[in-house]
């Protein structure tokens, strides 16, 4: 599923927010304008009411009051005229142009709120004020001073139009501003996404020849990108290490294959340079066959090691293949039997200790046996004739420990970190070895989540210790792998003690 670009979505968000803002502004503007206009309208209403009242005069003779309707200003819209009614002190109507259907409220206080009514479908707003004085000269006064009650009403038509105009003005301005700010936002978003583009470029430039991943300081300092950058860097470091491991293995392998091939080639070339006796051909053919067998053995071991190193690779999915529960002691026993001929030939006694305990762990028995065989062969090859090599098996609560002890010359302190490196051969190693046995042992042990180490001890002799967890095979792996596995198996990884792995 393709998703809309981040820029478009951010921009859509910004525009939406701005639209809401603009709508709010228009609404608030209309309400406010309306209120202001209504105040102004009411003020105007009062003024016009008073000017109507001012048209009432005392007659030049006689009682009553006179109203000059011709002086009332004409309505702007004759269809919806302003209405007025003036009542004298006695309640008599002095002037009126309210249509009959409009009911007038009772006269209240001067501060009485305006009232509303509809006339011909149009909203009207009216005002009533009692105790309005008659603004006439005293000379004309022939009776007592009278007070008037005045009703005045005008249509709200103009008011609504003005409010609508204000709304349109605010709305239009908002839209123009919205357009401008959207452009600004689009530009800013594009600019802010530059670090992402930079990261993509950097990532694209990475190859087996170029492992450099160095985002610019500004990019690296972006808080949102820091986790991504850190994750990329970790991933690259692991890939680089894995790649280097592969490369080193290839180089080592090529190097160590060349000498056996050189032997074979030179034997055959020397043989063919001149006619030979039958015996010479036979001897050379037999020697060459041995060379080929040795080469085959070397290849098999190298491939085995390569596969093991592959599976201990953090990316290789550690598929939980079903493994049988294997008795450690039994594999030790089998290994002792396999190494017995070599030990006998070199006059070395093999001893097994604690092999009947019956500790079981999920593992391929051939794998375990190969580990013990390699350790035992190594010990036998470094022991003087008449010495003993001991293989001892013991279990703690959650792990099994196997020790192989010899009485040879021991391992110089400087060589201890190197003994498990592939193709590494000690100074006293017998000719014909490949230097792969301990490397294979380590790779297998680590694939099962265990560890292998040289125990510090005073000379003579050396002790190599293998520790394997008794937990099921699939429990191993990185914390992330365990978490993923736990998610599939429905277990919580926190329930397990992390020290057990």
């Amino acid at each position: 599923m393709t998703r809309t670009s981040l820029t478009a979505r951010l921009l859509a968000g910004v525009v939406l927010a701005q639209l809401l803002l603009a709508a709010g502004l228009v609404w608030a503007g209309i309400v406010f304008t309306r209120r202001q206009l209504r105040h102004a309208f009411d003020a105007g209403l009062e003024g016009r009411l008073m000017s109507v009242a001012a048209l009432v005069r005392y007659p030049e003779a006689g009682p009553g009051l006179v109203f000059d309707a011709s002086l009332v200003p004409p309505s702007r819209n004759p269809r919806f005229p302003a209405f007025y009614q003036v009542q004298g002190p006695d309640g008599g109507v002095v002037a009126n142009n309210f249509p009959a259907e409009v009911a007038l409220p009772a006269a209240g206080s001067p501060a009485a709120p305006p009232w509303r009514f509809h006339y011909r479908g149009r909203a009207y707003r009216g005002l009533v004020q009692a105790h309005q004085p008659i603004l006439d000269t005293e000379e004309n006064l022939s009776g007592p001073r009278a007070e008037l009650t005045v009703y005045y009403a005008a249509p709200l038509l103009d008011l609504d139009e003005e409010v609508a105009a204000a709304g349109v003005a605010i709305g239009a301005t908002s839209l123009v501003l919205l357009l401008l700010t959207s452009l600004l936002a689009a530009w800013a978003i594009r600019r802010e996404l530059d670090p992402l583009r930079e990261l993509a470029q950097q990532a694209a430039a990475i190859s087996p020849r170029n492992w450099r991943f160095q985002p610019s300081p500004e990019t690296a300092a972006t808080p949102e990108l820091r986790p991504l950058i850190a994750a990329l860097e970790r991933m690259l470091a692991r890939l680089h290490a894995s790649h280097e491991q592969q490369r080193a293995f290839m180089a080592d392998a090529a190097h160590h294959l060349k000498t056996p091939v050189a032997i074979l080639k030179s034997t055959l070339q020397a043989l063919l340079r001149r006619p030979r006796e039958r015996e010479e051909y036979l001897a050379a053919a037999q020697a060459s066959l041995l060379d080929v067998e040795r080469l085959e053995q070397l290849l098999q071991r190298m491939l085995r090691l390569a596969r093991l190193e592959q599976t201990s690779d953090p990316w290789a999915a550690a598929e939980a293949r079903p493994l049988p529960p294997t008795e450690v002691g039994a594999t030790c026993q089998a290994a002792l039997e396999r190494v017995q001929p070599l030990a006998r030939a070199r006059g070395i006694e093999l001893r097994g200790v604690g092999l009947e305990d019956g500790h079981r762990l999920r593992a391929d028995p051939d794998d375990l046996e190969l580990v013990w065989v390699n350790l035992l062969e190594n010990a036998v090859q470094h022991s003087p004739a008449g010495a003993a090599v001991e293989l001892a098996c013991a279990a703690a609560a959650d792990r099994v420990r196997v020790r192989v002890r010899d009485q040879g010359g021991g391992i110089p302190a400087a060589d201890v970190p190197l003994v498990f490196e592939r193709f590494r051969r000690g100074a006293d190693s017998p000719a014909g070895g490949f230097g792969l046995g301990l490397a294979i042992a380590r790779a297998i042990v680590e694939a099962y989540g265990g560890s292998i180490a040289v125990e510090p001890q005073p000379p003579p002799g050396a002790t190599l210790t293998v520790t394997l967890p008794l937990e099921p095979f699939h429990e191993r792996g990185s914390p992330l792998q365990r978490e993923v596995r736990a998610a599939f198996l429905g277990k919580k990884p926190q329930e397990r003690d992390p020290n057990r792995l």
Partner: protein, 236 residues
């Protein structure tokens, strides 16, 4: 000619030695590790190996270190490296450390022998595989000898004595030097063996011709030179 082969793989060392003995007629000593190789190279230095064939990957003292120490002691013996490494940097490092040539494993035995012969004759100041002294021609590739255009058949040891003398014309070569360069250290050194070969050479090379090439300096050794000393310069 006497060659030292320093190689930790016994089978490869044996094959190289066999090829050098059978196809070039050289005496060959084998050292199976660096220490032994350095010891042999330095103790035999007084008389001198004519070539050292050196493997790089040796247990203990490595080939490169051996080469450096050997050169540091002032030795000028040509060194031919056998190595499984073929990266450019290591070749450059080797040549800079004093190696004269380099063969990558697995090598071609014929090419290896040719390079070995080149290094030996270059070490003695010759450019071509044909050595000339007067009207004598020694073909080191075919291992054949002609004098005055006539092919002369020699026994293998006679040829080896003559080839060594022809590599160093006009120089006095002692009996001991001949013994040291023609036999590997396993062989017994009987000085009268040399006298037998020299008399055989005289009979085949000098007797049919008027001018003699092989001269004896009593108490010092032998010299191979043309009577008028007018042969073309050896370095031509």
């Amino acid at each position: 000619m006497r060659v030292l082969v320093v190689e930790d793989e016994p089978r490869l060392a044996a094959n190289v030695a066999q090829a050098l003995r059978e196809n070039a007629g050289y005496a060959v000593d084998i050292a199976l590790d660096g220490e032994q190789g350095l010891y042999l190279a330095q103790t035999a230095e007084a008389s001198g190996y004519d070539l050292i064939v050196l493997d790089l990957m040796l247990p203990g003292l490595g080939g490169l270190e051996l080469l450096k120490r050997h050169r540091a002691s002032g030795a000028r013996t040509p060194v031919l490296i056998l190595s499984a490494r073929d990266e450019k940097e290591s070749v450059v490092e080797l040549l800079n450390a004093g190696a004269d040539d380099y063969v990558a494993k697995p090598f071609d035995l014929g090419e290896f022998l040719a390079r070995a012969k080149v290094l030996i004759r270059r070490g003695k100041g010759h450019c071509t595989p044909v050595l000339r002294v007067g009207d004598l021609e020694v073909h080191t590739v075919e291992r054949s000898v002609r004098r005055g255009g006539r092919a002369i058949t020699l026994a293998p040891m006679e040829y080896r004595v003559l080839e060594y003398l022809a590599h160093r014309p006009r120089a006095v070569v002692s009996k001991t030097e001949l013994l040291e360069h023609l036999y590997d250290f396993n062989w017994e050194k009987f000085s009268n063996v040399i006298e037998v070969y020299i008399s055989g050479l005289r009979r085949k090379l000098d007797d049919p011709f008027a001018d003699k090439l092989i001269h004896t300096l009593r108490g010092q050794g032998y010299v191979l030179r043309a009577a008028e000393a007018a042969e073309p310069p050896a370095t031509a």
